[in-house]
Each structure stands twice: as C-alpha cells, then as structure tokens.
Amino acid sequence: MSPHTETGGSTQELAPIFAALGDVTRLRIISVLCNGGAVSISQLTAGTNITRQAVTKHLGVLANAGLVRDIKAGRERLWEFEPTRIEEARRSLERIGQQWDNALARLKLKVEI
C-alpha cells in the first residue's frame, strides 16, 4: 500500500464531513446540536424561517457524513450530534490494542518456555 493511496483514503473520508459543514444552515444546526441533548425538527425550525422539509434534508446530509444521528423517542424522531464518531474510532482502536496485548502475552508464554 503506497503512501499515496493512504493519503487518498483519509482525504476521501474527510471530504464528506467538510462538504456537509460547508453550508450556513447546516453549520447552524450543528451549533444547536452541539449544545447537547436530542432535539426535534420542530425545535430546530422554531424561530427560523426554514421549513421542516429543508431541515430534514440538511439533517440527512449531516447524518450521511456521520455528524448527527437520529433517535426514536416514542413517536418522535430526535436528532443529536454524533460526538462519539471520533471517540468510537479511538475506543475501537483501544480494543484492538488490547487484543494485541493478549496475543503478544500468549506469544511470550509460547517462546519463553
């Protein structure tokens, strides 16, 4: 795997995130969601002249980039910021690291007999 393809890979991963953030309305939605808690579409449109449909569409773009996610609360659909995106990547790496620690401990036992 050449360094070139590696760079291409991570750029490809980041491009949708920056594209999703490159819009004033979506940035506003993100800033609201960043304040914490799960918010309904009505709450997001309250006090603005943005339509429900437009917000729904924007949320779709943000969700595709992995920046927000929806959760069902009864009959209502709520949206929240996905701060766990990076956190999850970090935790899963930690898990794999632990698996390596376990595997290497087994290797140590094996070769040091």
Binding site: M1, E6, G9, S10, E13, G66, R85, I86, E88, A89, R90, R91, S92, L93, R95, I96, G97, Q99, W100, D101, N102, A103, L104, R106, L107, K108, L109, K110, V111, E112
Partner: protein, 153 residues
Amino acid sequence: MISPTDRIDRKILLHAPLAKVWNAISNAEEFGDWFKVDFIGKTFEPGQKIGGHITYPGYEHLLAEMEIDKIEPQHYLSLHWHPYAVDPNIDYSQEPTTMVEFVLKEVDDGILLSVSESGFDRIPLSRRKEAFRMNSSGWEEQMKNIEHYVAAH
C-alpha cells in the same frame, strides 16, 4: 500529521532465542497457535493469501484471512488483513485492509519484538462500531478463559 486513530504500536521483550521467536512469527502453524487461528498444514508465502478459522473461544465461526506481504528472514514480516471482519455474512474483500508489521531486534537479554498495525483510518466507521459491539461480548469469554487458566495452573 499522523492521526492518533490510525495505528497501534506495541513492543515486547521476549526472553528467547532469535530462531525461536522468528519461527513463532513466520511459521504459519506456530503463528496460528498464539494468534489463535487454525493454520495447520499451511505456510506463509509473500504475496499469498492464507485463511483459517479463529480458534479463540466464542469466535470459531469466523474465518481470519490475511495476505502475506514481505518476509525478511529473522527480521521482518508484514501482512494485510481486514481487522473488523466479524460478520461471516459480509464480503470484506473489497474493503480497505490494515497492515501488520513485525520487526525483530536482538538485544542483550532477548528479542525486542515491535508490532504495529496501521491504516485504521481507512476502515469505514460502521465496521469499527460492529467490531466494538462484538468485542464487548467477547470480554466475558475472555474473563472465563483467564479463570480456567488460573484454575488449571
């Protein structure tokens, strides 16, 4: 910039002769013994794929496949694989792989083995989540293994 979530690095000092450590890394059967994959009757060849069932309790239904990259005798071995290939119903062959590298270095009191796995940032996040869920149930299994091991020794 190196992303903090892209790679894992480990170093371990093994109090054993170089030949023995190299054999445990480069002989597929021996590798499978500690890595917990059934590679009985198989060999590592540069550029070749090798597959076997995981022998780790609770994961026996999974097939571990790797592609051996380089082998430099007594010193270096690298391979590629799909680190989160945890669902037997999904074809991972078109997805990006991570690269695992083993480097052996002779030091005063044994062999310093460096292991790195890199390329995680290329793996789709959805796969990482999957692996994380798999792993949380795997822990209980692991604790049982330790109990059994301690009880038997």
